[in-house]
């Protein structure tokens, strides 16, 4: 094999692998990327049951209820409209999770219309708001961001 050829073969092999990686990435991203829904979007165009998505909104005041096992909670998430999505979650609630606070729930919509959350992301400290909540209208975002810590500092 001539010198030029070896270099060429190497470059082509590397390019094929990188482009392959790019294609695999693009294809997997289309299938596996976790889309973000607001409650009104989820009510209007619900994702397929079982598909991993994220739901972001505000925990509706008065809706938070703990089941008899002490670790499963049910609550409603609301957004900019009247639509509210019921969410069910088993686990330890995030440190700053209270009614009226902003939350992003990771999970999937069940066949019964209840969102089964596998993970909850709540406001983390004074400076951190889940980014998805930023575009929810200033009034609402401000409301969510407002002193959610107060409820927890018993």
């Amino acid at each position: 094999m001539k010198a030029k050829h070896q270099r060429l073969v190497l470059i082509i092999a590397a390019l094929i692998a990188i482009i392959g990686a790019g294609l695999i990435a693009a294809w997997t991203l289309r299938n596996q990327a976790n889309y973000f829904y607001l409650p009104e979007q989820m009510a209007a165009t619900p994702p397929a049951a079982g598909q991993a998505v994220r739901l972001g909104g505000m925990v509706q005041p008065g809706s938070l209820a703990t089941e008899a096992d002490g670790v499963t909670v049910n609550f409603m998430v609301t957004g900019n409209t009247e639509d509210a999505i019921p969410v069910r979650y088993s686990g330890i609630l995030p440190d700053l999770f209270v009614e009226g606070s902003g939350v992003v729930a990771e999970g999937s919509l069940g066949a019964n219309g209840v969102f089964m959350a596998t993970n909850l992301l709540a406001k983390h400290d004074e400076n951190y708001v889940p980014k998805e909540l930023e575009g929810m209208g200033t009034a609402q975002a401000a409301k969510m961001a407002a002193d959610t810590t107060v409820g927890l500092t018993q």
Binding site: A14, I24, Y35, A52, V71, H124
Partner: protein, 660 residues
Amino acid sequence: MIAEIGLAALWLAAALAVLQMVSGAFALRSAEGEANPLAIYARPAAVMQALLAGLAFTMLVWAFAVTDLSVKLVAANSHSMKPMIYKLTGTWGNHEGSMLLWVGVLALSGGLIALFERRLPERTMGATLAVQGFVALGFYAFLLLSSNPFERLPVPAVEGSGLNPLLQDIGLAFHPPTLYAGYVGLSVAFSLAMGALLTREVNPTFARVMRPWVLGAWVLLTFGITAGSYWAYYELGWGGWWFWDPVENASLMPWLAATALLHSVAVLAARDALRTWTIMLGVLAFSMSMLGTFLVRSGVLTSVHAFAVDPQRGAFILVLLGLYIGGAFTIFALRAGAVAEGKRFSFSSREGALVFNNVMLSAILAIVLLGTLYPLLTEAFDVRVSVGPPYFNPASAMFAIPMFLVMAVGPLLRWKEDSPRRIRFEVLLLAAILIGVIGLVSFFGQFALLPLLGLGLAAALGVAAFLPLRGRKLTRVPVATWGMVMAHFGIAVSLFGMASEGAFTQERLAAVAPGGSEQVGDFTFTLQSVNPVAGPNWTAIEARIAVSRDGGAPVILTPQARNFWSPAQATSESALLTRWDGQLYAVIGNQAADGRWQIRMWWKPFVTFIWYGGLLIALGGVLAIIGRVRVDMKRRKAVSLGDERRADLEALGVQPGLAE
């Protein structure tokens, strides 16, 4: 006064960076072997700049140590009541301080190379220092123009506003400095690569100069990633050890590029092959460091770590990023054709295996990069997505698995050309182990595909790591080879930890009344009591949980839910029980209305092996550095002895005329 000294030092260092750049550029203009009168300033400028940047950083540490509340940065990030160690580590727990640390390490490494590196031709050295100065200058400009750490407040604050309690941890003392040093160590590799490219000196000597820097940066990155992973594991209280968080990816990407570079530079040093590829990886590795800095520092990403949210700064770093990466790739494109091709090799050779894995590493890098940037791209079109393990795990495994397979046999192959038949016994042995372990494990239970493959690969790799030692006299194996064996074994150990954690983790989530008992794995745990406790700047509720394994003697675990009062924030402090074969991980949650407490327990078999493996990998890198430096010292000594002898002979030979 302290702040003013720091600021003055920073400005002077920036001025010296200009001098270094100009003087280094003049070295390029001189003919080989001829010293340009303006080129002699580059080395002293680099050394002085390192001292000044060090001074500036020391001044900032000082301001934090004495809690000088007239300095804006201290007032915003510190508190007089904070424990001393966290006052000090708080210096780099914020945007400005961490950027100053970044620049400080950059200047330090520039100074070190200027002071100690004498092997390269002066022209290459000049070009390298010029590039190093150019990189430093951009970051000085960034610090001085958009994030001055020494800014004074018009009126001193009465009290500081504290430090994010998540960051009040000993993990913070080590994590960012190691990662930064790793990032910045790659800047030297970058400068050397550019210097060699500009002067067309891409050869084994250059590779031997570059190698310790790449190895050093890689060791620090490995260590930083390992430490960061463990820190996130116990501090966040989520029980996970890798979240594919953008900030974690920002440190993983330079590591992947540095791993590829490390291996390709070894080929260049040993065999004089892969010249342009090594240069390309050098540029790529530092680009990934810069991209990592941009992602973390600009606040473009949603992340626990993104504590600096300032678009203007982001734009500044983005411009720097475009300037350096764009410039580097332009020079690369213009000059790469002029680099003569190195030695050739056949596909089934050690070089061939290394090239294959280099390409696989680059492909994984592409996967991680696209996954990390994808949410930013879609956000431009107002579609919000997040990309998590369902994407990263399978997509990266697709390239990681062939890579591991080749990694197992690559070190057994000979350089240049080898017949696969020569190592068929080893290949069959490893295949038998791989298939045997997978078969055995799947016989005992149903597990997901990736952990199952991981267990099999870990076993095969663990054995494969030691095969290069077979038939050799162990006392005569070079230190650097031991380094390779250890690092490759570390990969196997780490992979075993990840796969075990994925396959065998058991979890129990329950609301427990005081006195109540629950079971997880072999462990029985009893909630004894829940009490309030207090620390220097926090209060907490603390659970006392008695844990006993198979009815053995109980051990007390005390997970806490903490509330910090400055700034007001709550965190969960997990409690860990470490055994040789795994860790028990306990978290306390809220109190239910009926008085029971939420307790979450995980039994994670062999999870600790993930980080032991990481440490082994880093240690392997350290051994490789020691081995290489020792060989280099010997060579230098031999050369100087030879020079002396020649000088002696010449001194004797002054009278050859008489002898005639």
